[in-house]
Symmetry: C2
Subunit: 283 residues, 2 copies
């Protein structure tokens, strides 16, 4: 793989945490960046943070001349924006997105783009609990896992182009079919988010004063509950089928512990296995 982002003009549509960070990372690498934001205030903020990029509230102007277009808006806005940029896309342009759920995005955007350009979904697993351009940083993607999700309809060169694009920003690349991606994310991203919110609610409803006693363990395990409610509502619902299975899997673990406790059985093996698995992950 030989990343050559220098030859690209990249349009970043939606300057939130991911889009803003992407624009900054690309500008740092001397890639020509064109950014679209819906609000004038955000475009002005971009001009301050990323002065080398062209920023505009005009969608046609932003995608003009771009050979890579990255959709960084909420998932629900992607179809409409794709329809609007279609007449302005450069021949052979590659369109990708950063959405956290892939099957619905790929299913909706592929038919819209058709043969006008190439669409390949991707999901750089970067972000955090603080959204918005004000938390953007050029190194957000460094060392992040990024999953490219081609479909049977994907153009192989476009898949490679998207892969190379994220690799050039320091991501560790993976490739999965869209629905396999969504099932995996339900387990390692969306379910933990839901569990974090559920832990906060369980404690707050049963004994709000107990929260004053929360230590580093509770804070770590519920940190992701500070993410945007609107964004996570969209993710959890778009990934509803896989989430139903994931919630069932978590409940089944809790039920097993509950019945072990009620029978006075040891939990050491359950805890030791989880510990060993967790230790194998990067800290």
């Amino acid at each position: 793989m030989n990343p050559r982002p220098e030859s690209d003009t990249v349009a970043v549509l939606g300057p939130g945490l991911l889009g803003g960070s992407l624009a900054m990372a690309l500008a740092d690498r001397s890639v020509k960046v064109r950014i679209w934001g819906r609000r004038t205030s955000v475009v002005e903020e971009l001009d301050r943070r990323c002065p080398k990029a062209f920023a505009s509230t005009d969608l046609a102007a932003a995608v003009s001349g771009a050979n890579v277009v990255v959709l960084c808006t909420p998932i629900g806005a992607m179809a409409e924006i794709t329809s609007r940029i279609l007449p302005h896309l450069k021949d052979g342009a590659v369109v990708t997105d950063v959405g956290s759920v892939k099957a619905p995005v790929v299913t909706r955007l592929e038919p819209i783009i058709g043969s006008a350009a190439h669409f390949v979904g991707s999901h750089p697993m970067a972000g955090g609990d603080q959204a918005g351009i004000e938390h953007a940083r050029a190194d957000l993607f460094r060392d992040a896992a990024c999953i490219v999700t081609p479909s049977p309809r994907s153009n192989p060169a476009a898949v490679q182009r998207v892969t190379t694009f994220w690799a050039s920003l320091g991501c560790r690349l993976f490739q999965l079919a869209p629905d396999a991606h969504d099932r995996a994310m339900a387990l390692v991203s969306h379910l933990p988010h839901l569990a974090a919110a559920a832990l906060v609610h369980a404690a707050a409803r049963a004994d709000a004063a107990a929260l004053d006693l929360a230590g580093p363990g509770f804070r770590d395990s519920t940190r992701i509950a500070m993410g945007s409610a609107e964004m996570w509502d969209e993710i959890l619902r778009e990934n509803g089928t896989a989430m139903t299975d994931a919630i069932r899997a978590l409940r089944s673990e809790l039920d097993a512990v509950q019945s072990a406790l009620s029978r006075g059985e040891s939990l050491t093996a359950f805890l030791a296995d989880a510990r060993a698995t967790r230790l194998r992950l990067r800290r």
Copy 2:
């Protein structure tokens, strides 16, 4: 409150992460420290890490002359150790412990100590996922919540002595009855631990390869699953009744989400409320 630990001789029984850190913190404050460890190798490690302290494998020698004794062993070992130190305790000595579950400890140790000395339970919420003297550090207790758990039988001066003791190490002090402590910990400490282990198992059983994709969110929310399996087995089982209620509370939150998802209802309010509650905690 006027902390004067300088006038104390403190015996620390059990030099793990908490006991070792406690000995180091006290020695830094020029408090006379006497440490007991079961194994010669640990006592030798203590001599290296905390040369100002007296360290021994002889329990009677360790408590000799101490006016504060802190049990830092696993909960299950505390009754036997208390019986063994009883003949060697100084008149009016105050005995406390650092166990994560308090009602069983208080119920067992109060009758053993009787009027020979004063027992008051306490729980400094310090620690982490890495146990053992090799991770001990003198600032472990700084800014940690510490809950003192007097019973109706507690001597008020001893309660105050224990409170002052932890305050002198930089803890933020709380006071709760032992069973109220245990219910609160079930919610903000023990349930999150269990949920972390359950999340690891749920992902590993359904799709072990998904763990390769785990990002910072999964790592944060499962970090505490790296704690000692034996120690947490003991904690969860000693706090079995409160844990049963806490698991039920978590399940009820998950069920509510599950049925909202199946009806296509928004989760925004659920997530926004959890976010607002979590934001009020210290980061």
